[in-house]
Amino acid sequence: MSNNIMSEQYPTLAQCALVAAAFKILLFPAYKSTDFEVHRNWLAITNSLPLSQWYYEKTSEWTLDYPPFFAYFEWTLSHIARLVDTAMVRIHNLDYDSWQTIYFQRTSVIVTEVMLVYALQLFMETSPLQSRRAAHVVALSIILSPGLLIIDHIHFQYNGFMYGILVWSLVLARCKTTLLSSGLIFAALLCFKHIYLYLAPAYFVFLLRTYCLSAKSIFRPRIFNCIKLGGGIAGILGAAFGPFVFTEQMPQMLSRLFPFSRGLCHAYWAPNVWAMYSFTDRVLIHLAPRLGLTLKEDALSSVTRGLVGDTAFAVLPEITPRTCLILTLFFQILPLLKLFSKPTWENFIGAVTLCGYASFLFGWHVHEKAILLVIIPFSLVALRDRRHFGAFKPLAVAGHVSLFPLLFTPAEFPIKTIYTIFWLVLFLMIFERMAPASKKPRFFLLDRFSTLYIAVSIPLIAYTSLLHQIVFGKRYEFLPLMFTSSYAAIGVFGSWVGYMVVYFTA
């Protein structure tokens, strides 16, 4: 393509967002998970109860367990919701899903996604001229992401809005003059959804080094900046939590926000280290007699093995939350050291990505949806050169394939698979053409791994979605799930190792 850089790129972000929105409206009658009822219940709670009872209310099992800004957000929405259908905002109206409710809730997801469109537009505009074409492609890949489509527009959540705020904050960190707003927006994001705490260490180190400490010497703090940032964050936290401190709900709220009683693996195994660990354990059960290992009987008899939450290991040692925390922190600190010594924006995005990776791979009770925490920041730098792209490729495949079990109804099967294949073919093809050659030599092993990995996905999808049913029928239902999550775990893990290498050698 011989376009000069000055010309606008086609299709534009707005055009893509518009056509995607049309598709999303057509998906209104699609399957929706319990998250739909969760959010309806929150509309009802915030609309019909005084603030002092929001975090105590428990008529529905889906109690309010997001931080206050999200509650305020639901409160705002509920004013419109009441006009659309009053029955929607009644607390005792459990599992209510009239057409009006579906129209309203699904539309609110589409409309709030405008935040993401705005943030990506800003990302394109602030990109340096020579990488603007790449930024454009990256922005399109995020707005058309199958992850957001599956999680937000079918399964039901507000990730488009949340990641919009995150990308906005990440983009503002690019420029010295907007560092403060970047930090404050991130603080506000934490008050929307606390899962972003996983990325907070990178923000802390980056803002500390670039904003609070002098660029010339790390021993000279910039007091005025510290006061501005500290005061700003205190103000935001005050706005968020103040009313709840005032109504004495804080301990109750915290117990809702951080429920430590959950198991190591979520209902469907997220593709992380613990999925591989469980898989190994499962294989070892059969090898144990030959290897002379002892089996823990109580774990063997557990009927729910492989399917539901509390995983007990038969051969391998148990994993405690403390182990998870230590591993997570350790692998977060490694990239942060480099960020501290070289606080460039690219390193910052890299560190955010690696913080996401570490918490996803080693965290306790990780949800597969959290993979977006890695994919979206990584997308922003995936086109820096071929080495970055090489590490990104298996993540793009694994991360999205691992979301497939979220939708298990036959009507949505063609949508999730064909849309994901479409996205992978289109964007991996374009990325392949656009990623510039790296100045550093590429890693032969990593390249081969990517190619082989993508090739394996085809028979795997065929097996899990079709062959397994034909061969086994309803038996061994955990097998396809286990294969999917182990396969995806290898991909995420491999891409993490690959990116760690790229990050530290860049």
């Binding site: 393509m1 010309s7 534009t12 049309a22 598709f23 057509l26 209104f28 036959p410 949508i415 479409f422």
Partner: protein, 589 residues
Amino acid sequence: MAAPSPSTRKPRRKGKKIDEDIDRVIRTREETLVRTPSFPLAAFLWPARSSSSQWEVLPLILMVVGLFRWAAGLWGYSGFEKPPMYGDYEAQRHWMEITTRLPMSQWYFHDLEWWGLDYPPLTAYHSWVLGKIGTLINPDWFALFTSRGSQDPNLKIFMRATVIVSEYLIYVPAAVVFARRYGRLTGVSIWTATVGLVAILMQPGTILIDHVHFQYNTVMLGLVMACMSSLLAERYKWSAVFFVGALMFKQMALYYAFTIFAYLLGRCTFPKVNFSRLFGIALVTAITYGVLVLPLVAGTIYDTYRGVGSRPDLDGPPPPLPILAGLTEYIDTGSFYYPVVEMVVQVLHRVFPFSRGLFEDKVANFWCALNVVLKIKNYPTELLQKAALVATLLAIVPPNIIIFFRPRKATMPLAFAATAWGFFLFSWQVHEKSVLLPLMPMTLLLAGRQGLNRDIRSWVGFANILGAWTMFPLLKRVDLRVPYAVLTLLWSYLLGLPPTSWNVYTDEGFGGWSQVGTATLHTLFYVAMAAWHVAEAYVAPPLHKPDLWTVANVGVGFAGFGLCYLWCLWRLLKDSDLLPSYATKTKTQ
């Protein structure tokens, strides 16, 4: 732009050079000399301009188009939760039931009150294949009697999948081949033809009727498209095969029959009479008919041989034939071939329902519009039948005479469209869904020469949006307002048409008074359509005229479709170089 007769034009090699036509799709901004796409669909395919191979872009297009179809299919279908009779969905399902569960001789006789089979044999075979596959998955879906009105959500998924698979086996390949061939013949680049192809595949009418409302029109339309494609390739015998297939799938394909006949006859007559070609085509047509009827005949003979009657519920001598009752004077009702005669007559009787009224429900054609002024039901049926015949003939004779004397490849779709409009507007027993028939060849123009320029794009867009709009009352009955709005607006947005943009009328500068006239006329109609939607949604019709909005829809629809007919006829006349003034004008340009 002197237009040499396209038939003498050699097919161009692909991607040889970007011709002048591409300039119209790409608007050149004088001041910066930067080219930009002039409507969103061109923008979406923008990065593919330089791609040398269509095979990279085509799979992606087919995936996206398929996704939109499947997502639209998540909505309800005709007759969903509407007992006692349900709707077209139940009809199609029921045919799968009777073809897989009953002996062949009973297919056209079984309980006619409950969606009796009234499509030609190829539909019956198609239903049989789908029914057999469905039975493998779940036999209850097509169990005799007990499955009637089934609302099983998995059955819905299966049925939706059968529509998509049928379409991807017939309509989609035909459209791909047609767009490429037509584009190449009329000298447009592959990229431009691909833009046209996407516009054809995203046509709101077909998606709404087949994938939302539920029918298999694309099978018939696809076969006709394959026939047209074969005509372009000068494979006349194949075109006969495809057309007979279309006709044997859905009798509605008769709308095109005159044009195919006139075009083929023209091709066999000019420049010199070619009897062997004519004879070959006739022979192939007859053989195809025979082959397609053969299974039904063989099945009936076999059933007679093993003593299975066509109507096990009746005792005594065979009942009189429903039509052509005089035949029994020459044929012995006891003879071995009588069941075959009875079956053939029954098929004809079922497929061509002359006994029914002039039109069904409210449809935007002449008779229904006239009904507002004169109460047509008061006139004798025979008179009306004759009037319909005469009016239809008057409407279809001009385009067919033109295509007979000037059988050109480039103007062929126009003749198809004009004839189908004639039928739609004036013939007997027209359905609102039949508007898909004239729309199909008209939309194909988008893939041809200047197809994406102002004139053709605005008229094809107008016809399609008006067509979708006249189907709104049908779609509203089963709460399909949302997919209607989304698919129609999306298509108009992609092609830069009203109501999302009026650029199509102003894009290429001032183009004379005809352009101003077109823009004004179209704008009037678009405003009327929008106003109608507002009125229909918020204003209750007066008590003594409960059908007011539907009648208004019919009136506006008829006027608009009448204009589309005239436009097709005018373009055909102009592009056939039959007008002396235009012929000289184009030469001096």
